[in-house]
Symmetry: D2
Subunit: 342 residues, 4 copies
């Protein structure tokens, strides 16, 4: 008997990516898809690349019978998410792709998202969904809050190094380049093709991007002291892919050795040979992270570069990885699809 | 026991696409990969998107022990292909992705490819590999010649219509737009990013593109008379995808009905509702063909639009579909991957 | 004393393109810029590529003192345009970039634009702005209605051929590929980068695109009988550029000779050597049209291919060319900028 | 009488960009164009976007009569350049776009370019061509060595800050994103559209990129001590444009004030309001630099972001700016073309 799956917010890019991945998953079955403004439409008309699939039509959330659902993927905007999840049955497993339950501290939520959290009880219950580092907690969790795509990329590069005390905690810079699908499907002037193709610009510069809330929470917990990285995201004229170029002070060889050893048994994390580094093009559509380490000409400085697909490992693939654990499946089930290149 | 598979020419895009598809195929195992100039390298260094796979290193063709191989995919340049396949054991199953065995008539080969065929005996034996139309012959074949990607796209739009006598055979125009990966991975000035992005141009204009050899052969056979279409391919600033806009004279409703009925049971061919039409973006990385029919304002004229991914349904996916049949597997095995969008 | 110029609708792409061209025009000075929703902003914040220029701030139309203006470029949406131009002083020269005054017949306007025209008197006065063919009328005109970008591209390929009786009037097909900037700067889901990059699709298929109104009007007038072409536009993943691939029945050599002779003295129209054809990449940002003719393998069939930049020769460059004539300047003044490649 | 100009290496992208700019320059006339492999061809067939111009055909260098030339632009590969310039008449003005004369120290040249310099006498004579900082020397120079495109971008952001002692010299990081045209027009697998579009990767990581030679020379001279920055370039899926994201330790407000004041009178350098920052899309095809400064959440850290077009301000526009000075023209002549957006 397959697990019965519902996806809330199926008309966005992460919702569609979940459907794509579930399409070949052997033990999960999609029984409900919601989309507020597009309720009543077929998934195949909203996302024609999925038209060959036999899928339930899009409905409003309150039309879903959650008693017949084993697990919900919630791919709604932040803020909206809190009240929706708050209204779901309390024994329903939930994998949330929004930002609403990533920050454990209500004050941090208020600081980064500009409004008080309305479901602080659930916030306390939620497990941070970066699978490779919270595997046991996720397996036992009812509510998992998937990591933000940028936050995930930076953490894959840095967590083992901070945990091992290998880098100067006061001088970490994450210069990140991200594809545009991470900005979602809402029509905005600044997301038009004519505005974004053929160039790049930074955004959220100077310590104001919300994913810093996750970096601060996670890195400070790992280090046992306050850690505040610098973080500058840039918009790339590509749909998918994040490349994080991370500047650290520390011994490059030790850094490479630590990453190699930390990820040795990880099916989705590939550490490249020392001195080489990845491209976003080689993770497109796959659930993999590629990591590279290069030493700088200046001693005790290293550049760590991480690449992943924001829609797959950065959100929907990560979410499915978590769902596999929560439902007692092999973590890799349905996720070993090779990236699509070129 | 999985089928033992060799891929000749694995360092090109169609070779890589075969590896991508075979990566999650349950009953095929890659036992040998050849690449002439890159022999000795790892597949993961030639194509880093495949680095998570446990693959044999690239070797030269004559280093392969074909007695331990059940089926060979041959993804070599035309002309080279003839002599390579000619030298393989005669009981080895071969799926050829080149142009060398697509034309049954040696004179036609000479006309379109500018040199005599050197393996005319094999040419006579080869079965044309457009699966949906040569299924039984392919199942029984030893040597299958996969259809060219442009030729496949046009044929999906036109074969049922020509067979049913629904269109004027003297006035068929195929205006085609193709992604650049079809031009291969050889370094050429006219394939540079700076030369191809942000614009389009036609090529092979006026009846000189080699895929016309396939159109002529197949359409004339279907019609029982000589059929010569007009065909203009254009290069699209995208890596994957072919859109064929086909102009025909005939009744649009009858044309839509015929395509709907012809492809009703086909797992990979999707006929869209009358009046709607496809985008290449919705077939990227999938083995699907999307077909649309729109009637023109002028009576008895229709526009049939076909979209597929040149590397998947247009070559490597098609090749695997054929291999499944030749090896007694379900035709769809390993090929139901949903397209990747955006 | 420079001519005093106002641009209405300066926050759209054609408005910005006018400012770009006027920036180096020796005898025109921008004295007013309007933008309804963005009134009060600087042009440099709405279009940072123009921030080095000393420009008037954006205002609402009714804030402009038209008595101090010699010529107005009107780059507003259709329908809005009629009432705006209707309210301007009747002695003010106007170059309109919208569709509102292109069709001379009110019934045709109603048919293609779905509503009655509200300024039929002005409609009668307006001169069709395809400069190369209406030069004398434009020189004497007060109100010029610039040609639509797609309509212009098709006409450059076809007008001399229809006028000379060289092609079969019942079998003309224009398969057109256009960059996305032609769709404007309004935020719409289907214009997002993630929806448009890396692929193509047709739109307005089957004889419903509004530029057919222009083709019908102009070609029928030239032929002295009703001419209805087939026309299928496709959206190209590029910002600028239109390529029209035109299929005609007629003698290729005669067609090439006619185009060569028709455009011999034209500074902006380049006819390529017989058998060669253009790319949109080579007209980007320039006011040029490149035309090529290739004969098909089938006798008496030719493919005529035209390329231009939709924002330059297709709208704002064409508009400036007309304004030059209306103000007594050399037609080419400020317009000989070479295209930008790559 | 216009100045007589020759361009050596006119079949590359910087050569073509020079021709584009000179096309509307009022006092310079192109009298000779060289291209080794393409000698004998028309410029219009090598670069069809220039086909409307009346240009001399491409010849080999030794076919040029330099006695009839006032100034030579040399756009040849490094190493080749030395011997070519060495063989030119010693009274001929030369603007070199290669790397060969940028480094004043022969040992530095050998270190970064891997071979001894063969024209050290000329090397000593050459003036570094970053116009805004070497204006007087350039005006008097016979041989000017234009700055590398990446090196120029970083220097616009940093020179005034280093000169004013406003930033920590030991902790400067330049994370740079560059369009692909900077890599030239030579056919290489890694420059193909299919390899570069839709993603990004770093290259020359860790202190090995040759433009570091320029940074080291210039910044150390300004500071009066050895300065070694960290520098990581990334390839952007766009043809033109460089964005340098520069991380410095210093007071953001003071940094912004210094840049504002340093560039106040510069016609080509635009300093944006504090807290805002540029996009490469807004400098495409123009000779402008856009600079922004944002303060980080961490005290005494700033992010300085610089954008320019690598082919224009980064090479050919800069070269023309220098040529204007060397020939006694206004520095801005022919260079005030507005950027092309979108």
């Amino acid at each position: 008997m397959p697990h019965k799956i519902a996806i809330l917010g199926a008309s966005g890019y992460t919702g569609a990516e979940l459907v794509r991945l579930l399409a070949t998953h052997p033990t999960m079955e999609i029984v409900a898809l919601s989309a507020d403004r597009k309720a009543g439409q077929d998934m195949g008309s909203v996302f024609p690349h999925l038209r060959h699939l036999d899928l339930p039509a899009l409905v409003k959330i309150d039309e879903i019978d959650f008693s017949a659902v084993d697990l919900v993927f919630c791919a709604l905007p932040h803020a909206t998410t809190q009240s929706v999840i708050n209204s779901l049955p309390r024994d329903l497993k939930v994998v949330d792709l929004s930002a609403d339950f990533r920050l454990r501290d209500p004050a941090a939520y208020q600081k980064w998202y500009g409004q008080p959290h309305v479901a602080t009880e659930l916030q306390a219950e939620a497990v941070y969904g970066l699978t490779e580092f919270y595997r046991d907690e996720i397996r036992a969790a009812r509510l998992v809050a998937c990591t933000g795509c940028n936050a995930a990329t930076g953490q894959f590069a840095l967590r083992p190094l901070i945990a091992a005390g290998l880098v100067d905690l006061d001088d970490i810079i994450i210069d990140l380049k991200t594809g545009v699908s991470g900005a979602g499907r809402s029509p905005k002037e600044n997301l038009l093709h004519a505005e974004l193709s053929e160039g790049t610009h930074a955004y959220g510069v100077g310590g104001v991007h919300r994913h810093l809330g996750e970096f601060d929470q996670e890195f400070s917990a790992l280090a046992g002291r306050k850690v505040e990285v610098q973080f500058t995201p840039h918009l790339l004229p590509a749909n998918r892919g994040i490349l994080a170029t991370v500047y650290v002070k520390g011994d490059p060889a030790a850094i490479h050795a630590e990453l190699t050893s930390a990820y040795e048994a990880e099916p989705f994390v590939q550490v490249l040979p020392f001195g080489t580094h990845p491209s976003t093009r080689h993770v497109r559509g796959g659930n993999f992270v590629h990591l590279g380490v290069v030493g700088d000409r200046r001693p005790d400085r290293a550049i760590v570069i991480a690449a992943l697909d924001n829609l797959t490992k950065g959100s929907s693939g990560q979410a499915l990885q978590n769902a596999n654990l929560m439902l007692g499946e092999e973590e890799t089930t349905g996720l070993m699809l090779a990236p699509v290149f070129p």
